[in-house]
């Protein structure tokens, strides 16, 4: 509201700047020739001063004086042609149009390109306002400020890590988990969190590094179902189907009858069963070794394929906010910023421009330097 008042006052002042001089009653105009005369007299005075100071000699001064004199004589002829009167009516019309044009043009243009409802958001104020009113991002930034000042606060890292993960800032989540473990000690839960973050950062690929984290978790808690399950998934991704299958089966045997993991494990096994056709022999030991030693290039190829798969899946089934987030993140990790922008655009379209899900996606992307097309150029 205050903004509209300010805008109105500014517009009024601008209109007055046009209106007031146009309304004032003028005296007789000073003819141009009078200005010239003033100049010539000034020049004569300067000439006298120069002559008195001895800067120019007498002959030169006399010549100059004559020249200025000739110019003054010329003026009188010009002066007679002067003297046009003001044309009142047309002038008033022009002035009226001008005064009206100022508010019409400015409000019209501003309505097209402005964002009048968007308040200013100074960083300090965003960090200081009541936590209850803050967005997730603002709370995180505040916690980050705290941790930048007290980097040895392990509890802070511990709290922040899963939040980073949920926001899709997987890289930061990795750092946070590592810090939490350095300061608070290693636990299975933290190792699993780290592994998940590493995998998510690689676009869902359970890399050797992520596997190592799950393995460390299993050393601490050999029965940890989540670590076991994720490790098995990693094996499956690498094509080590037999190992994955074996692992899942032992896991299934050890699970209590009412364990929530039963469903997931069963599903994973079913998936493996489809993929690993019993008619075809499983991968040989050589194959498995090759997969483990897969070169970076091949791994990159594999990731690319997975991302392409995800992209396709979202085309078929676009109502998946988490999926869009992962797709944007994957493209950013691969350095394909244009595709990331494109994914963002499609995601926002699919999720509905106005919805909260779309807003979250835009914020998520902005954190990674991906901006919705048309947003900046507006």
């Amino acid at each position: 509201m205050l903004f509209w008042i300010v805008a109105a006052v500014l517009t009024l002042c601008a209109c007055l700047a046009v209106l007031l001089p146009a309304m004032r009653v003028r005296g007789r105009a000073v003819a141009d020739a009078d200005h010239d005369l003033e100049v010539y007299q000034d020049q004569l005075g300067e000439l006298e001063r120069d002559a008195a100071r001895g800067v120019i000699d007498a002959v030169e001064a006399e010549q100059a004086r004559a020249e200025i004199g000739r110019r003054i004589i010329k003026l009188a002829a010009e002066r007679k042609q002067d003297g046009s009167a003001g044309s009142g009516r047309l002038g008033r019309i022009v002035a009226t149009i001008a005064v009206l044009a100022v508010p019409v043009a400015s409000w019209g243009i501003y309505a097209a390109i402005g964002s009048p409802n968007l308040p200013a958001q100074p960083l300090q104020a965003r960090l200081e306002k009541n936590p209850a009113d803050s967005s997730m991002q603002e709370l995180v930034a505040r916690a980050e400020g705290h941790l930048a000042a007290n980097p040895e606060d392990g509890r802070g890292w511990e709290v922040l890590a899963p939040i980073y993960f949920r926001m899709g800032r997987y890289n930061d989540a990795v750092v946070a988990y590592r810090n939490a473990m350095r300061l608070q000690g290693v636990t299975a839960a933290r190792e699993i969190g780290l592994g998940e973050a590493i995998a998510a950062n690689a676009g869902g690929m359970i890399t050797t590094e992520a596997q190592a984290a799950f393995e460390r978790a299993l050393e601490i808690e050999p029965d940890n179902a989540k670590a076991r399950f994720l490790l098995a998934t990693g094996f499956a991704q690498e094509g080590r189907t037999k190992e994955a299958e074996g692992m899942l089966r032992t896991m299934l045997d050890g699970l209590a009858a009412d364990s929530p993991w039963r469903g997931a494990v069963g599903q994973a096994l079913a998936q493996l069963g489809v993929e690993a056709d019993p008619a075809r022999p499983g991968p040989s030991a050589d194959d498995m070794e090759a997969a483990a030693l897969m070169s970076d290039n091949d791994r990159a190829q594999m990731i690319e394929n997975m991302v392409a798969g995800l992209d396709q899946r979202l085309r078929d089934n676009p109502q998946d906010a988490e999926g869009w987030r992962r797709l944007v993140q994957s493209y950013v990790v691969l350095g394909r910023m244009e595709d990331a922008g494109d994914a963002l655009k499609r995601g926002v379209e699919a999720l509905g421009d106005e919805g909260e899900a779309a807003g979250d996606l835009v914020a998520f992307a902005a954190e990674r330097g991906v901006v919705l097309e048309g947003q900046v150029e507006q």
Binding site: P21, H35, V39, V55, A95, S106, A120, L123, V362
Partner: protein
């Protein structure tokens, strides 16, 4: 709210610029005083609104408001406050806002100080100024809006280009823009005269202060930019004939020509048409510079984000103003009255000679700058016109001009005596010759050309001193009288002498650095020493350092003079700006008198050493000090009382004219 207020103020300023263009022009066409009177208040209001808009953007930067896309793209919450403020114009959108702010500022100055101008001239000048403003406001709003928003806002920005995080950004662009845009006033005056088809007697007087002011700022802007590139880029060069540098040098050359031809016009009413043309050309070259730098045709630290639509837009502005003004010139120039006659050997003749050389030099630099762009546009082939071209063409053109400079101010108006002037310059000539001989025999490793160059510099400086001595009558009258005359000399005489002296100082610096510079590239381990130009440099070692938004490896050096005394420490470092992961080199510089020892760190070697590049730059500071002296000369001329022409009041002018009419 503050951001959107700034945005709205900018839009409102655009609307006012349209009024400022249309209404006064209609007023002069209709002969309506009230419409003409609208120009002044509207120009002032437009400036106030643009300033408000600029202040709002600055506030957004200071408060790290990342909901503004421009702030998010070019700032960081950890950036030191100085760079938060200077970062406002350290990017395309913000720098264009500064451009229009300065344009509006000059318009307001004309409105404030223009009370002594004839009403129609004032209205026309402000109208043309309004049109330029409208074009650039539209450009900013349509293609480069600094107030575009992001919602929801990110929590951290992307930081400013590290090369720009320097005190130089606080000085160089504003000075340069004051110069570029200052010439718009000369342009507006020229076009206003063409619209009216009449040049007032005092036209040249009114234009002169604007030309001088713009020239002073442009000189400062170029000198500052050159010094900044010298110490920040880490390769110790001070001028590269880079197209971006040429873009600022072109209006300087033609502006210098304009400054000199305006003197003839003012004193003798001659060269009127030529002066108008120069005023148009100078601002056209400023616009061309803006186009080259802002359109993304060139890649450089100045180019920021490139966007073809912007280039096209500026090209349209360029065509509108250059084409329009030249067409108007072609239509109207013949109807303007010719002024006084003069003999070729005279002050006027000397100034014409100056103009010939300066405009030819401008054309040379222009061709050298545009030719590669044209070739690339037509054939797609990339060629580079570098220093060799300019050294071969520009220097031979400028040398005779430099030799002729001391003659100019000593010539009489209308009809001069070359022989008499030469006689009076005999002492200066002898002095310069002596300097050549002394430097030839006493400076190590000097060539004939270098000694000659130093002689030219001495000739310029001594010539300027001779001018002052002769004008105050030293030698021909008593000391007391000479002193009184010296003090009483018009300030413009001091201005001329100072500016020409400064030219000599810069020439000396350029000649010394180009011909006598010493460069060494060595690998050094901590504790090792190397000799350079009579000094010994010892490498102490490298240590890490943590800045507010960067980390750096500081290399510490100590240097000793020939007698083995320690003279001081030099800190040279390699920085990494963390937000952009961008490395920069911070050269270490030690100043001895006007000379400098310049140390740049290279890459570390495998055996624990580091590559070090060391330059001895003799008299290098004179290059920029000369610029400062030239600026002082321009300012001195600006303060000359003859620039203040009184305004006739309606009542007084009648009485004044009476005896005149009677005498007729």
């Amino acid at each position: 709210m503050i951001v959107e207020t700034g945005h709205f103020a900018l839009v409102l300023a655009f609307a006012l610029s349209l009024v400022q263009f249309a209404v006064p022009l209609a007023g002069t066409r209709l002969g309506d005083q009230r419409l003409m009177a609208v120009a002044g208040p509207v120009a002032v209001a437009g400036f106030a609104l643009t300033a408000l808009s600029f202040a709002a953007l600055t506030a957004a930067y200071v408060q790290s408001d990342f909901s503004v896309a421009n702030v998010w793209e070019n700032s960081h919450s950890l950036k030191p406050m100085l760079y938060k403020v200077t970062g406002v114009w350290g990017n395309h959108e913000g720098s264009m806002l500064l451009w229009v702010l300065i344009l509006a500022f000059f318009g307001a100055l004309v409105a404030w100080f223009g009370a002594n101008l004839p009403a129609t001239l004032r209205a026309n000048v402000l109208s043309v100024q309004g049109l330029i403003g409208a074009a650039f406001f539209l450009f900013v709003l349509a293609t480069s809006n600094p107030f575009a928003r992001i919602d929801p806002a990110p929590m951290e920005g992307r930081d400013l280009n590290p090369i720009l995080q320097d005190i130089g950004l606080a000085i160089h662009p504003p000075l340069l823009y004051l110069g570029y845009v200052g010439f718009s006033i000369c342009f507006s005056f020229a076009v206003a005269a063409l619209i009216e088809g009449r040049i007032d007697a005092a036209w040249a007087r009114w234009v002169r202060p604007w030309t001088l002011a713009a020239w002073v700022f442009l000189t400062g802007g170029i000198a500052m930019g050159s010094y900044w590139a010298y110490y920040e880029l880490g390769w110790g060069g001070w001028w590269f004939w880079d197209p971006v540098e040429n873009a600022s040098f072109l209006p300087w050359l033609s502006g210098t020509a304009l400054l000199h031809s305006a003197i003839v016009m003012e004193k003798r009413s001659a060269l009127k048409i030529w002066t108008l043309l120069l005023a148009i050309l100078t601002f056209s070259l400023s616009l061309l510079g803006t186009f080259l730098v802002r359109s993304g045709v060139l890649t450089s630290v100045h180019a920021f984000a490139t966007d073809p639509s912007r280039g096209l837009f500026i090209l349209m502005i360029l065509i509108l103003f250059i084409g329009g003004s030249l067409a108007l010139f072609a239509l109207r120039a013949s109807s303007l009255t010719q002024g006084g006659l003069f003999h070729p050997v005279s002050r006027e003749g000397a100034l014409v000679l100056n103009n010939l050389f300066l405009t030819t030099a401008t054309a040379t630099v222009l061709i050298g700058t545009l030719y590669p762009l044209l070739i690339e546009a037509v054939t797609g082939e990339k060629i580079s016109v570098g220093a060799p071209f300019f050294n071969l063409t520009f220097i031979p053109l400028v040398m005779p001009l430099l030799l002729a400079v001391p003659f100019g101010p000593l010539m009489a108006w209308k009809r001069g005596d070359l022989y008499a002037v030469a006689q009076r310059l005999f002492a200066a000539f002898g002095g310069a010759l002596l300097v050549v001989l002394l430097s030839f025999f006493f400076v190590d490793g000097i060539g004939v050309l270098a000694a000659f160059g130093i002689g030219v510099a001495a000739w310029l400086m001594l010539g300027a001193v001779t001018d002052l001595a002769l004008k105050s009558g030293i030698g021909s009258v008593g000391a007391a009288v000479a002193w009184r005359r010296f003090v009483g000399l018009p300030r413009s005489v001091f201005g001329t002498a100072l500016a020409h002296f400064g030219l000599g100082v810069t020439t000396l610096g350029i000649v010394a650095v180009t011909t006598l510079e010493v460069e060494r590239i060595v690998t050094m381990r901590p504790g090792e020493t190397m000799p350079i130009a009579g000094y010994t440099l010892r490498f102490e070692g490298i240590q890490p350092f943590q800045g507010p938004n960067f980390t750096e490896e500081q290399g510490r050096f100590v240097y000793f003079d020939a007698a083995g005394r320690e003279r001081g420490a030099i800190m040279s470092s390699k920085r990494l700006y963390t937000a952009r992961q961008m490395p920069t080199t911070e050269a270490g510089i030690a100043t001895r008198g006007f000379s400098q020892l310049y140390v740049a760190l290279g890459d570390p070697t495998s055996d624990g050493g580091v590559v070090v590049r060391v330059w001895w730059k003799p008299l290098v500071l004179l290059i920029w000090l000369g610029g400062v002296v030239m600026m002082a000369g321009g300012t001195m001329s600006l303060l000359d009382r003859r620039l203040r022409v009184g305004a006739p009041s309606a009542r007084r002018s009648k009485d004044v004219l009476k005896p005149q009419v009677a005498a007729e």
